[in-house]
């Protein structure tokens, strides 16, 4: 629990760690919607091309700068394990922002968003930031889900919405930045609340399911 001190003084971490915040984001959605492709596109300038057989491919870190703060984004990708349903729920733990991805050329992936939302409700921490991401928007000829339909679903569930294409790169950066900004805002407001009531932070950190406790435990 040494991280408790760190959380209340983010600037001291920044001096040593070269970033101000570490956020964990999660990509979910049906298989084949292009989650990993989105991640590749987003992190393509930073991932290490060497293949380390003991670790597999680790390319999931990208540092961004928002409003003068350096934010290290650790993006979790469940791609390949979607069918191990009880394992994928393990990824929810500690996630501060979730990007729900569907494929505009596949009706099924869009319909399943409702199930994924329910899944988030059950497994993710309360108040986790969510963003509905419509991928493959470049494939206009194959599109079966219109932008309006996506927008409508997002509004219905009170979450944000963006259309992008991992293929062309359109809006990919925006999607992650938008998510990072929202998490940052929430995180900062939480922090100030904690500072106001210092005793409470200990309690939050003792809860293993809490996004805060998990993320801070890992950043040190």
């Amino acid at each position: 629990m040494s991280s408790a001190a760190g959380s209340s003084t983010p600037t001291s971490i920044a001096a040593q760690k070269a970033y101000d915040y570490l956020f964990k984001l999660l990509l979910i959605g049906d298989s084949g919607v292009g989650k990993t492709c989105l991640l590749f596109r987003f992190a393509e300038n930073s991932f290490n091309p060497t293949f380390i057989s003991t670790i597999g491919i680790d390319f999931k870190i990208q540092t961004v700068e928002i409003d003068g703060k350096r934010i290290k984004l650790q993006v979790w990708d469940t791609a390949g394990q979607e069918r191990f349903r009880t394992i994928t729920t393990a990824y929810y733990r500690g996630a501060m922002g979730i990007l729900l991805v569907y494929d505009v050329t596949s009706k099924k992936t869009f319909e399943n968003i409702t199930n994924w939302l329910k899944n988030i409700e059950e497994h993710a921490a309360e108040g986790v930031e969510q963003l509905l991401v419509a991928n493959k928007c470049d494939q206009e000829d194959k599109r079966v889900i219109s932008e309006e339909q996506g927008q409508l679903l997002a509004v219905h569930h009170g979450i944000d919405f963006i259309e992008c294409s991992a293929m062309t790169g359109e809006n990919v950066r925006e999607a992650f930045y938008r998510m990072a900004r929202r998490v940052k805002t929430k995180h900062e407001s939480k922090e100030s609340a904690q500072r106001a009531d210092g005793s409470k932070s200990v309690k939050i950190l003792s809860d293993p399911g809490s996004p805060l406790g998990k993320s801070l435990g890992n950043c040190c």
Partner: protein
């Protein structure tokens, strides 16, 4: 029916070889040996005809076919006539005149024609059906016994100059042992080494083959292998005793084939082997080199070790099924083979320059055993990317070239699906097989590769179209004998049959549809009972049961299935049936774990205690799973106990700590950074978590394009290959435990509510949502 074709094919091969041998002898003017060769041919033909009678008698569908019977009888008569003429010729005098040799040759040719006629007709009339293959192995064993008894009974036709008694004694003993083997139903008796006690066996005069077959018990693979190992050992003894002999035992993985050949010393027609070549035969054929040379050397040491066996002539076959037809066919340990060795060595010796007579297919490099630590070596050897660049077609070309590295072949076989459709590859190979120049030493490579490809098929890939193509090819190879593809044809057919068998025995995957309220209600009740039942078992027993299940599921997944699973974007369950079954099992165990704890949801302190006891029991099970390196179930159970519906309940802090402790290794952080090194260092038996295999392959698949500028991305090929090699290591996992039928019955495949909503409902019943 297939066994019929196979046996006849083998006989034909023998006759053909003998005929060639005879021609050579005639060329060389070594006429004194001809009668012996003729005897050999006569013997083979008789056995062949008898075999057909035996098999026909046993296959109801054949014995009732009048047209076939008529055809067969007339051909049989024809063959017998030629046979009689031959016998007469070889009997008439020891000095054979020129006319005699010509007539003999003619007779042999005619015989061959008749017999081939029978084979072709049989092949057409009774296409191989999976039903027929089911008991073929046992049938071959029975046929062996009868053949052996027949030989031992004094019916050996005119084998001049042979030490009949020795041979008979050997065969009788082998026959007895084989029978014992078949009769022992569940466990084989420990081999007794008194096999040479010839007095104990009564001489049987078996002339007809109408005798009912003894021992209908199923024999499982280990029985059979153990028994046959013994059988070969035993005949080794016999051989040592009976002066000159050799035994040839070949193993490849689970598969083995025992070829017992004995070579009587005084046999005048077997061109005497020099003492050097003789000991060569011995030392190479006795795979573990336990005995070399003469009779004074005692067999010691353990039974032949499969790993040390002769490398298979042909590409290694993994998971050879019990029913493999060429495993142990009667003609192989029959007397007629006695001299075939010397004949073959003669043939090879004489025809080294003219390879058209060489019947031994060129070897392709044996696949390296995946258990060795070579995970990186392949990549280094093939690290020169410039030499490995090529279009998909050029890759096929490379694989088929003669000097290709075995690593490259393996890498190609692992990954070709990612750049070349299966059917396309098969078409290309078929084309090459037809074009093959029989004189070239590499003529067998395309068909060898084809056999490997077929061996590694996921059964769902074998659609009607491909099946038809392969069947046509087998028939073509059998009928175009000048290509010397008979052996390949048999192997290919074995492989195809194995896949067909899998396809037919496959269960439809259970679809987990939504349960009705009633169903889920009764399932909840069942889970509630299961919870207390679980406490009846020691965690050790339970973990062991899971180990067996997981190892079985893992082994059932063809490595190529992992590639298919990763490549198919939609994760089509039909395409990867074994993988899907394993995933379903994983999820079942995981949900079952949750369900067991959460279904104890009636209020009261007792129930709280019960939940805790069940949870503690799972902790113990987890420790045992970890100890036994069963990471698949470990992940499943950890996911169950650490699910939010469970952890949100009120538990002692020690329980939470334990859960976190168990979770450490399954942490998804940094792409399973805790788990990967542990897995790497784990010794077999070990079952990895299969989700990571798919994830790793999927990421290679997504990250690397299959093609670069029209060339196959070789880097990607090697990565896929390396990942698959890692998975192969664990396929050899065998736990030395007993599966508990009791657990199987009681928990019914870990049926549970695979529905998060229901589980949460149960969780809320225990601890209401509003509760602080």
């Amino acid at each position: 029916m297939s066994s019929l074709c196979l046996q006849i094919t083998d006989h034909l091969l023998e006759i053909e070889k003998s005929a060639k041998y005879m021609n050579k002898l005639i060329e060389k003017n070594q006429k004194e040996l001809i009668p012996q060769v003729v005897t050999l041919i006569i013997d083979t033909v008789q056995k062949m005809l008898d075999d057909i009678v035996v098999i026909v008698g046993r296959e109801p569908e054949i014995s009732t076919d009048d047209k076939w019977n008529l055809f067969f009888e007339s051909r049989q008569q024809e063959a017998r006539n030629y046979l009689a003429a031959l016998v007469k010729l070889s009997d008439s005098s020891s000095e054979i005149s020129h006319d005699d040799t010509q007539m003999t040759q003619e007779m042999v040719q005619k015989l061959e024609k008749v017999l081939r006629n029978i084979l072709d007709y049989a092949r057409f009339k009774f296409p191989v059906t999976p039903k027929c293959t089911q008991n073929s192995f046992r049938k071959s064993l029975h046929a062996s016994i009868e053949n052996l008894e027949y030989l031992g009974s004094g019916e050996i036709p005119r084998t001049r100059g042979l030490r009949r008694n020795n041979i008979r004694r050997s065969f009788r003993t082998i026959s007895r042992k084989t029978k014992e083997l078949i009769n022992s139903s569940s466990s084989i008796r420990p081999p007794s080494m008194d096999g040479t006690n010839n007095g104990s066996v009564k001489r049987r005069l078996v002339t007809g083959r109408s005798r009912s077959v003894v021992g209908r018990q199923r024999s499982n693979q280990s029985d059979v292998s153990e028994g046959l190992t013994f059988l070969s050992l035993n005949s080794a003894d016999l051989h040592l005793e009976s002066d000159r002999s050799n035994i040839d035992v070949r193993y490849s993985n689970d598969q083995f084939s025992a070829i017992c050949t004995s070579s009587p010393a005084g046999s005048s027609y077997s061109r005497p082997l020099s003492s050097n070549s003789y000991s060569d035969v011995l030392s190479t054929s006795c795979s573990s080199g336990r005995f070399v040379g003469g009779p004074e050397i005692v067999v010691d040491g353990p039974p032949l070790l499969p790993e040390k066996g002769l490398p298979p002539i042909l590409p290694p076959k993994k998971n050879k099924p019990l029913g493999g037809l060429n495993v142990f066919t009667p003609q192989k340990n029959r007397f007629s083979m006695v001299s075939s060795d010397s004949r073959d060595s003669y043939l090879n010796e004489k025809t080294e320059q003219s390879s058209d007579l060489s019947l031994i297919p060129p070897e392709i490099p044996e696949k390296r055993s995946p258990s060795k630590n070579h995970r990186d070596s392949g990549y280094n050897e093939l690290n020169d990317p410039s030499s490995m660049l090529g279009t998909p077609d050029q890759m096929v070309e490379k694989v088929l070239s003669q000097n290709v590295k075995s690593d490259f072949i393996e890498a190609f076989l692992s990954s070709f699906r990612t750049f070349l459709p299966l059917e396309n590859l098969i078409d290309q190979l078929l084309k090459r097989i037809r074009q093959a120049d029989t004189c070239a030493s590499a003529s067998g490579i395309p068909v060898q590769i084809l056999i490997r490809v077929v061996d590694q098929l996921v059964y769902t890939e074998l659609n009607d179209n491909i099946k038809q193509k392969l069947d046509d090819e087998i028939f073509w190879m059998m009928t175009h004998r000048e290509k010397n593809f008979l052996n390949y044809a048999k192997q290919l057919r074995d492989s195809v049959q194995r896949i067909v068998k899998k396809k037919n025995s496959a269960k439809r995957p259970l679809s987990m549809g939504a349960l009705s309220d009633n169903e889920s209600e009764s399932l909840t009740k069942k889970l509630r009972n299961d919870g207390t039942k679980l406490l009846d078992y020691t965690s050790d027993t339970f973990a062991q049961h899971l180990c067996i299940l997981d190892a079985d599921f893992y082994r059932s997944i063809e490595p190529s299935e992992f590639v298919l699973a990763a490549m198919s974007e939609t994760q089509d369950e039909q395409k990867t049936p074994n993988f899907s079954a394993a995933v379903n099992h994983f999820n079942s165990v995981s949900y079952w774990t949750q369900g067991l704890i959460l279904s104890q949801n009636s209020p009261g302190k007792d129930v709280t205690d019960l939940r805790e006891r069940i949870l503690n029991n799972f902790f113990k099970i987890l420790s045992h799973l970890r100890k036994n390196n069963n990471f698949n179930s470990y992940f499943a159970v950890v996911a169950g106990v650490s699910s939010k519906a469970v952890t949100r309940l009120h538990w002692k802090s020690s329980i939470h700590e334990k859960i976190q402790e168990f979770q450490k290794i399954t942490s998804v952080d940094k792409n399973f950074i805790n788990y990967r090194p542990v897995l790497k260092d784990s010794l077999l038996p070990c079952v990895p978590y299969i989700g990571i295999v798919r994830q790793d392959l999927y990421q290679v698949h997504l990250r690397e394009k299959p093609m670069k500028d029209g060339m196959v991305n070789f880097d990607r090929v090697m990565r896929i290959h390396k990942l698959l090699e890692q998975t192969r290591r664990f396929r050899e996992s065998k736990y030395d435990f007993q599966k508990s039928a009791d657990i199987d019955r009681r928990f019914c495949g870990f049926q549970s509510l695979q529905n998060d909503d229901k589980l949460w409902e149960m969780s809320y019943l225990i601890r209401p949502l509003a509760e602080p």
